[in-house]
């Protein structure tokens, strides 16, 4: 088994094996990456409660997924509490997921054009999900 980390051998982060960028961008992006990093932690903490609560209610409580239908949704969204819950979960999850995917695209794409278009696709899909999800929560009509 491995040696425990101790004072003499603290955990270390080794030099990256990937090649450094060919050219260093002239303009700095400010602290964007720091805020993105922090957002992942803050949203992650909230999502643990929101998403695990959502999964427990929808899949386990009462009849699980078998009891879900239009009437069930209408009942839940008659309460501002669940509307707020779902709206918050939608925005936090989509932004958290989009930033995660952005990181993955940046890590694995090699050509600039591939990276650009994959990210455009990601942003378009994320915009659609946020717009559609928000619209549905705010304009839901149980008497439709």
């Amino acid at each position: 088994m491995s040696v425990e980390f101790d004072e003499a051998h603290p955990p270390m982060i080794e030099v990256p094996r990937s090649m450094p960028p060919r050219r260093v961008p002239r303009t700095s992006r400010g602290n964007f990456e720091l805020y993105a990093w922090l957002f992942m932690r803050v949203s992650g903490m909230l999502l643990v409660v929101l998403v695990l609560g959502h999964l427990f209610i929808m899949n386990i409580l009462d009849g699980g997924v078998q009891r879900i239908n239009f009437a069930f949704v209408a009942g839940r969204w008659s309460s501002p509490f669940w509307q707020t819950w779902d709206l918050l979960m939608l925005w936090l999850a989509q932004l958290h997921g989009a930033n995660g995917m952005r990181t993955i695209i940046n890590d694995y794409t090699r050509r600039d054009t591939t990276r650009f278009w994959l990210k455009m696709l990601l942003y378009a899909a994320s915009g659609l999900v946020l717009f559609l999800g928000t619209l549905v929560i705010f304009t839901f009509d149980p008497t439709i």
């Binding site: 270390m12 932690r41 009849g63 995660g100 999900v129």
Partner: protein, 144 residues
């Protein structure tokens, strides 16, 4: 860059014994990171589909109920258990990452914390899977 490993000294090299397993190369540290990416991506793609299917409540009760029938299919129900397992791992490992980032002793216990969350995952998923599938099984065999 104070966190990088110092360059190897020139001249006759005395091979220093490295502590086995850093945070990000090989062993538990790396594999938990790989699993975090995969579970995150799975959840992201599911979220996209899930917002679209829920948006059908704005079309008509009938179209929503028809798409939700898909989720009640036993095979899809099994896939939902997989999704819950992926989300639960991502949530627990996210808490582990925050502990590594913000608790000064976190990096020293990252390996033990991984096995702790694997334990919690099993303790939640074993009864959780039962309660997620039981209503579907009851429906399937007409005992309800």
């Amino acid at each position: 860059m104070s966190s990088v490993a110092p360059p190897a000294p020139a001249g006759p090299v005395v091979r220093k014994k490295k502590p086995s397993g850093t945070l990000y190369r090989g062993r538990e540290g790396m594999w938990s990171w790989v699993a975090h990416r995969i579970t995150g991506m799975l959840t992201f793609f599911f979220l996209f589909a899930h917002v679209l299917d829920t948006a059908l409540v704005r079309v008509s009760p009938d179209s929503y109920d028809r798409i939700i029938e898909t989720y009640k299919n036993p095979i899809v129900n099994l896939m939902e258990i997989g999704l819950v397992g992926a989300v639960l791992y991502h949530a627990l490992n996210g808490i582990r990452i925050m502990t590594i980032d913000f608790w000064f002793k976190g990096p020293n216990y990252q390996r033990q914390m991984l096995w702790a969350i694997v334990g919690i995952w099993l303790v939640v998923m074993i009864p959780g899977s039962y309660f997620m599938i039981i209503h579907t099984v009851e429906n399937l065999f007409g005992s309800k």
